[in-house]
């Protein structure tokens, strides 16, 4: 090898190979994040303070935070459960084999079909003049708006979020389902276990780390999403990222350091979700290495 690691110069060269990446990560990932974190605890003139964090404790921000948490937890949980069921139905539900490929490709598309176009699609379908709204009205005489359903509301937004949450779960959990070996199931059966017992005692515990990881990912995915909510509801449904968006735009809040605090809160909660995941995973994976 031309680069023998025992020469100091060569060792330096080895590290040189990752410098561009580390520099990029520093400039466009680490420093911006640190800026937000430190900014949340500083006054405009640079001295330390908790005033910004205290500034979060206003009813409107707390309400937005609660709404964001509720939305993210709900769509992450539903996304996990429904995505798992869909993946299970396609991979081991006895359906024709080609459905699997179609579902996987579609999931790849739908999990990336987030943001503005997704909102448009839901408006065109369930909005005031949307296809389903019109069909229900003209054919069945049901006024969707009168039933209390409103697309520009929490359930409407959750319904739209599931459109990318479920496929993301399908994409991630399908390889994990493939990792469940057929002979585990057969071994369990030969030992007298029913299908349900097999799932409870073997399959779900084996899948648990993947499920936890995907839940954390889906949570962060929903918690940070802005475009779908903005295009769907304008700013009428105020969730935390919309508040931050407005703050950055300078529309609502005037204090930039409150913006830091809101941004910090967002990292804080997605960070917590991942910390919980890492801890639980370490416990769930004691049977692997």
């Amino acid at each position: 090898m031309p680069l023998a690691p025992d020469r100091p110069a060569a060792r330096l060269l080895v590290w040189l190979g990752v410098v561009p990446f580390l520099l990029f990560a520093l400039l466009f990932l680490i420093l911006p994040t640190l800026q937000v974190v430190t900014g949340a605890f500083r006054t405009p003139d640079g001295s330390a303070t908790l005033q910004n964090i205290k500034g979060l404790l206003t009813p409107s921000i707390l309400r937005a935070l609660a709404l964001s948490l509720k939305l993210s937890l709900l769509t992450a949980a539903l996304g996990c459960v429904l995505g798992l069921l869909l993946a299970a139905a396609v991979t081991r539900g006895g359906l024709p084999g080609w459905l699997r490929g179609v579902t996987m490709t579609f999931s790849g598309v739908a999990s990336n079909f987030a943001g503005v176009p997704l909102a448009f699609a839901f408006i065109a379908t369930l909005g005031r003049l949307g296809l389903i709204t019109v069909i229900l009205r003209d054919w069945f005489g049901i006024n969707l708006m009168a039933t209390g359903f409103n697309l520009i509301s929490f359930p409407g937004l959750a319904l739209a979020y599931l459109y990318f949450q479920i496929p993301l779960m399908v994409l991630i959990i399908t390889p994990a389902l493939d990792g469940l070996r057929k002979d585990w199931r057969e071994a369990a059966e030969s030992l007298g276990a029913t299908g349900a017992q097999y799932w409870r005692m073997v399959a779900l515990p084996v899948l648990w780390p993947s499920l936890l990881g995907t839940f954390a990912l889906l949570f962060a995915n929903a918690f940070g999403a802005v475009a779908t909510a903005m295009a769907l509801t304008g700013s009428s449904l105020s969730i935390l990222p919309i508040i931050l968006f407005a703050q950055i735009r300078g529309d609502v809040l005037q204090d930039p350091h409150l913006g830091y605090a809101v941004a910090f809160a967002m990292i804080f909660f997605t960070g917590i979700a991942n910390l919980i995941y890492v801890t639980l995973r370490a416990r769930a994976e004691r049977w692997q290495k």
């Binding site: 002979d183 030969s190 276990a193 029913t194």
Partner: protein, 353 residues
């Protein structure tokens, strides 16, 4: 009625028939092997027994109970898989206790049984480990303990040794057999390894193309192969083409000369046959009643055995195996010698090889 009766079993996957008219009776406590090349249907028979596949037609009766329609989890059959199939999320003890837990065995009794089982497979003290912390051989012992812990009526072994190293394979062979004898558990063993089947079984079923070619004790299968397939599949064999000259006296014309077997043959005069003889059935010297002249082509020294390749009667290749004893010399290539065999060791098979 046998303890297990498989009657006229047929199994097709789509258009391909993998098991044809398979009938077998197994006595209580017997160790029976299904032996054959891959794709011969042996694993399918085992999986139908376990309840993972359903036969297209035919019946399986276990201890007087028809297995038809009975799902795998209610058959009380223990199974060991080639890939161990230990539950990775459970410890060794939890794996062994799995069937007991399902059956609702009281905790204390289950714990006692787990200890007993682990002791039996020589893994006392391994209960708290996870499968990934064990070697392949240890994992398969745990799988065996897990399968027999709930006292199944039958033990099914699906190529349990194939994934293991040669040394462990041989030691585990005798261990499995010893445990099986001790518990007296009826066992059906699937393998493609004839040495395994021969060394472990009370009876061997040689399968080919979904059919049972021959059922018998290992010595019977080896010494008296019923069909050409069995003869060729089991052990190594010298095959010499020939034509029956006189069926009454057993005279057969071969490229190495006319050989007289001195027994009546079922084949008609003039029919083409093959003479089959095991390498160890051929001797150097003249102490058999069939004698041929031969020249040594080459020799292999294999430790306990010396294998000679000779040309008999000019151009008929034969392989001779003899034990290596001190004082014996290894014949040199080109050396002329006399080869002999007992006519009773020569098997006559229909058709030309």
């Amino acid at each position: 009625m046998s303890f297990i009766t498989l009657q006229n079993i047929q199994k097709s996957f789509g258009a391909t028939q993998v098991v044809r008219d398979f009938t077998l009776g197994i006595e209580k406590g017997e160790f029976v092997s299904l032996l054959g090349p891959s794709g011969c249907g042996k694993t399918t028979v085992l999986r139908m027994m376990a309840g993972f596949e359903t036969q297209t037609s035919g019946t399986i009766v276990l201890d007087g109970q028809d297995m038809g329609g009975l799902p795998a989890n209610r058959r009380r059959i223990g199974m060991v898989f080639q890939s161990y199939a230990l539950f990775p999320n459970l410890t060794v003890a939890e794996n062994v206790a799995f069937g007991l837990k399902i059956a609702g065995t009281p905790r204390a009794e289950a714990a006692r049984r787990v200890d007993e089982m682990l002791g039996m497979v020589g893994l006392s003290g391994f209960g708290a480990r996870y499968p990934f912390q064990l070697s392949g051989g240890q994992q398969q012992r745990v799988a065996l303990a897990r399968a027999i812990a709930p006292r199944p009526r039958v033990l099914l072994l699906d190529e349990p040794l194939s994934a293991l190293d040669a040394k462990i394979r041989i030691s585990l062979r005798s261990e499995i057999r010893a445990i099986q004898r001790e518990l007296g558990i009826t066992t059906l063993f699937v393998t493609h390894d004839q040495e395994e089947a021969m060394s472990m079984s009370d009876r061997v079923v040689v399968m080919s193309g979904g059919r049972a070619e021959q059922v018998g004790a290992p010595s019977e299968i080896y010494n008296r192969p019923a069909t050409r397939f069995v003869a060729e599949f089991i052990g190594s064999l010298n095959l010499v083409p020939g034509t029956v000259r006189d069926a009454a006296t057993g005279a057969i014309e071969t490229p190495a000369g006319v050989i007289a077997l001195g027994r009546t043959l079922p084949q008609a005069n003039g029919s083409a046959v093959s003479l089959a003889i095991r390498p160890e059935g051929l001797h150097i010297g003249q102490d058999g009643n069939v004698v041929l002249n031969a020249r040594v082509a080459d020799s292999e020294f294999l430790g306990s055995i010396i294998r000679l390749r000779v040309m008999a009667g000019g151009n008929t290749p034969l392989v001779i195996a003899r034990f290596n004893r001190e004082g014996h010399t290894v014949p040199e290539p080109g050396q002329e010698l006399t080869v002999s065999a007992n006519a009773s060791d020569i098997i006559v098979l229909d058709g030309v090889a």
